[in-house]
């Protein structure tokens, strides 16, 4: 009987894992689906073609997949804090943030990663991209920056859990909004462009890097310095983390 129980547990685990992977792939595909839906009606969006927008979405998704893979524990932070479980991370010998994040490795994100890469390759081939080594290096540089920016923004939002309850709703609301930033920022007025560049820097995750890669004739050359934004944001996120950790231990929950 013990053996059959064991098998049941393992099957359950496999089922959950499979569901998780399938889930992420479905979410991934439905985002591509959505733009396909829109482009069914119009050929051009703010001067960008379907495949350029497809590329943009693929790029943003790829940038986000590293976060899903290695930093998925962030989702649980608010719960751990509210439930008092968080205190056990305080007495660890190594860096707390690293330790907290390293605890969860979300292998289900691999499906998401693969579909994103697939989407990018597909769009790239339809756009007839001819990339040599310099272009590829540029791509990797800005992809890394995009990942760091995306991660830092999500971390700062997640760290609000140190001071507010129920931040899961904030996370979901921001998720919805970030979905809207996967389009050429030129469609939004100056106010929102400012917002998405300096306040909620979502523009650095998709629009600016892809603009540099696909339409470099359009851009302001200062954008080549955008990796600085990634560094800055990550430092900011780390600062917020430290403040949060200090304030939490202060209340002594």
């Amino acid at each position: 009987m013990l053996a059959s129980q064991n098998i049941k547990v393992r099957l359950q685990y496999r089922f959950d894992f499979f569901m998780g992977v399938a889930g992420m792939i479905i979410v991934n595909l439905s985002q591509f689906f959505f733009i396909w839906l829109i482009f069914g009606s119009v050929p051009v969006l703010a001067g960008w073609s379907f495949y350029e927008i497809f590329f943009l979405h693929g790029f943003v998704m790829l940038a986000g997949s590293f976060e899903y893979l290695f930093f998925d524990h962030l989702w649980q932070l608010n719960e751990d804090i509210m439930g008092g479980v968080f205190t056990r991370y305080y007495l660890r010998p190594m860096n707390m943030l690293f330790y907290y994040m390293a605890e969860v490795l979300n292998l289900k994100a691999v499906g998401y990663l693969i579909v994103s890469i697939g989407g990018l390759v597909y769009a790239g081939s339809m756009l007839r991209l001819q990339w040599g080594l310099p272009e590829i290096l540029l791509f990797l540089l800005f992809l890394t920056n995009a990942s760091v920016v995306s991660l830092s923004i999500d971390m700062i939002i997640g760290f609000m859990g140190f001071w507010f309850r129920g931040t899961i709703f904030l996370t979901m609301a921001m998720g919805n909004i970030s979905n809207m930033t996967r389009y050429p920022m030129t469609i939004y007025g100056r106010v929102f462009r400012f917002l998405f560049t300096f306040v909620l820097p979502y523009a650095f995750i998709g629009f600016y890097p892809v603009q540099i890669l696909l339409r470099s004739h359009e851009i302001n050359p200062i954008l080549y310095a955008s990796p600085l934004v990634g560094v800055l944001l990550f430092s900011l996120a780390y600062l917020v983390w430290k403040k949060g950790v200090d304030s939490y231990s202060g209340t002594g929950t």
């Binding site: 089922f15 309850r165 929102f192």
Partner: protein, 253 residues
Amino acid sequence: MRNMAFRSSFFFSIGGNLLFIFLLYFLWQAIYRGSAQPTINGMSFHDTYLYLCIANVLYLLFASGVDYWMAGTIGSGDIVMTLVKPMDWQLQLMSMRLGAMAFNLLTVTVPTFIVISILLRPGIRLGVNLLFILPSCALAFTVSYLFDFFVGLIAFYTQSFWGFSMIKNYVIRAISGSMVPLALFPGALRTVMDWLPFKAIYDIPTRLLMDRSLDAAGMLSALAFQAAWAIILFLASRLAFNRSIQRVMIHGG
């Protein structure tokens, strides 16, 4: 009661949704600019944007979150206590949800509709359709609730409910009309969507409020569609619920 404790999160989701609607305005402006004609599948920009505003407000109203609540109760084991009580669990959850919805209706929905009608002229249709709107919303809520309940039952079977629920929410958001009006879906897909229950939750009540091409016969058949799905889902969820309960009993309830 639980909603009160999450007041900050309430404002987050309202604020987030408002920002989202703003962004939707620009996105759809850009989409229509890229189109050769002023209407797409018979809907002008004004029609589409009015539709999306209403659909998004209804989303805040009808998205019940019952499945999350169920997962929480089932996961923590509290479910056993609840099942011992004489009152029907499904009804219990529904009444809880109705209370939250009434609150939402007064504080969010009505003011927002007033604002929409002021900003978007012509706004919400004021005619014979108003006779149908109340029953339609009641049915829409019922379908939404029953579907969520049905999905929530999965929590009886698996630990990793979160991922599944997130997908479900994402997919429903995408295909229910809150991001793209169903009228804009391409041919074959539109036919499929015409038979699925999701149209009953957002598309039908939304169109009742703004579609001026809908006549009384059309409204009646729309209501009948909603009622039919409400009945189907009710029977299905009842069946599934009883089977799930049996399972809990057998596995050491």
